[in-house]
Amino acid sequence: MTTVIKAPGEAGAQRSGGSGRRTGEGGGRRSDGTALNVFSHGFLAVWAILIVLPLFWLMLGSFKTDSQIGGSALGWPSNWHFDAFVRAWDKGIGDYFANTVIVMVFSVPLTMLLGSMAAYVLARYPFRGNRLIYYFFVSGAMFPVFLALVPLFFMVKRLDMLNSYQGLILVYVAYSMPFTVFFMHSFFRTLPTAVHEAAVIDGASDTRIFFQVMLPMAKPGLISVGIFNVLGQWNQYILPSVLMQPQSGSDPERYLLTQGLIQLQQQMGYETDLPVLFAGVTIAIIPMVVVYLSFQRQIQAGLTSATLK
């Protein structure tokens, strides 16, 4: 709990690199190791295929025609048109994408800012009721969203923020609070106090110390919890599906990506254009692949250390 976040992925990569060179060194143990290696690679490869194959197959589907998709699953697309992607974009995937980005551009930084502010004060300033407020925040992580769903809907309705960006942004921030406060709280506690004291002696105000000294020092923690929040909010489905429904005929549709994809899937009952659905999913997956591959170490380290905290 008190150590600064390690990067398990990093450690793993280094060690595995080392073992790659050293496997088979142990003389008498060589045959044993080789047999186990073949055995473990076999199992590992099977699962890897089980992960990759469906995804790859689905992406392939966006190049097929509808009758090809209905025909045999094992067929290869006859020609590589990007029509389905264009149609998917026209069907609203582009808008859904934009809506999701608009919401998250505000919700994630706001979550981080408010979460760190609360966590910082709770971690570093003793005052009456400190523990109470802390547990108050953290306990929210225990409860399923469903428990609040019905009253939450009417609360947002009363604030006249159903189907509005600002409503969803505020709700996202509120529901990300427990975890963000919990994680940043334990992080701020691990930061050395000496720097803080030096800043106090230099006459910096509390607010300034927070923004100019403590927050930059907490950067690794912010990255971990930031990734967690980005993924969590990007993948959120229940909250938007309840809060982002058009309220009247004139109310424009502001679906988020996850919601829009499900909507597309459910429309498929009436009109079959599966390549569009598959292309839509591909469009939704691609940014995740890019983000994941560029940040995979931080994501793995961030998400797993976040869970273990």
Partner: protein, 314 residues
């Protein structure tokens, strides 16, 4: 650790930093939670502003609601099988990735390409459940166009004239959904367990090796006990996921808010949503929410208690 002493001037600062986060949290999280308890004792429809207090009627009705009880049973089945399968597979793969290539007294080391496996296995975790729903909807398609049926027909295991209707088969549908959750989760817990395995000091393994312990024995007697904390946490997280299941069930199965065929894949969350948004029985839906909360809390406490062991410091 020392903390900064509070002075009078700080009160404003502390309050200033806390007021916004607290206000948001109270408005959108805590207050709705509290309201749920209140509404669960009423016959509120959600639409009308008036409602009457009906005591425990919602709860007694719940105990007689066949659909809800069926859903509860399904959640309990998932509660047993989701964590068990996911954790066992994740431990198995974590062992394969980390200790499979162990040679000599070097402690835990990865097989060749362990970083690659981790990247691939973990990937489903960054996909949203909505994407999984579309993906596996296509995989489980009830004709030749479904990946699973296509394969089985290709292998000659399934008659092309009668492909398996995975998600419409009353006895299969829940297990199909279960496999999606496992597919999604294994990679995450693999990485989690690997991180924990790598934090075990090497000399413990060296000692085990000197004492003549084999690979399997080392795993069961040394690695697993040292991983127990992570396993415990994982069980709680997976249990909470198994209590939810809303997205997958409501989007992949038939019926409004899913649950089909004939309630065979119903879970508590889908019954709740249907009562709230479709039947307009908000008070009743709130009572279900309360039952879900109580069960989740019991689950967490029981898991943590039942699996409690001597904590090993290293």
């Amino acid at each position: 650790m020392s903390q900064v002493a509070t002075s009078r001037g700080r009160v404003g600062f502390i309050a200033g930093f806390l007021v916004l986060p607290l206000a948001l949290y109270l408005t959108f999280v805590i207050w709705p939670y509290i309201q749920t308890f209140g509404y669960s004792f009423t016959n509120w429809s959600g639409q009308s502003p008036t409602f009457g207090f009906i005591g425990l009627d919602n709860y007694t009705a719940l105990m007689k609601d066949e659909v809800f009880l069926g859903a509860l049973w399904h959640n309990l089945l998932l509660l047993v099988f989701v964590p068990t399968l996911t954790i066992l597979l994740a431990l198995f793969f974590a062992f394969m990735v980390n200790a499979g290539g162990r040679s000599g007294a070097g402690g835990v080391r990865g097989v060749r390409g362990s970083a690659f496996y981790k990247i691939v296995y973990f990937f489903p975790q960054v996909l949203s459940l909505a994407i999984l729903a579309v993906l596996f909807g296509a995989v489980y398609r009830s004709d030749e166009g479904g990946l699973l049926n296509g394969f089985l027909i290709g292998l000659g295991l399934v008659d092309p004239a009668h492909p398996v209707e995975w998600l419409n088969e009353p006895n299969l549908v829940l297990w199909c959904l279960l496999l999606v959750v496992v597919w999604h989760g294994v990679g995450f817990y693999l990485v989690l367990f690997s991180a924990a395995m790598q934090s075990v000091p090497k000399d413990i393994y060296e000692a085990a090796l000197l004492d003549g312990a084999g690979r399997a024995q080392t795993f069961v007697k040394v690695t697993l006990p040292l991983l127990w904390d992570s396993v415990q946490t994982s069980a709680v997280y997976l249990g909470i996921a198994a209590m939810d299941m809303f997205v997958l069930v409501s989007t992949m199965t038939s019926g409004s808010f899913g649950g089909g065929p004939d309630h065979h894949s119903e879970v508590m969350a889908t019954v709740l949503m249907r009562n709230f948004l479709y039947f307009g029985k908000s008070g009743y839906a709130c009572a279900m929410g309360v039952v879900m909360l109580v069960l989740t809390m019991i689950l967490s406490v029981v898991t943590l208690r039942a699996t409690r062991r001597e904590r090993i410091e290293f």
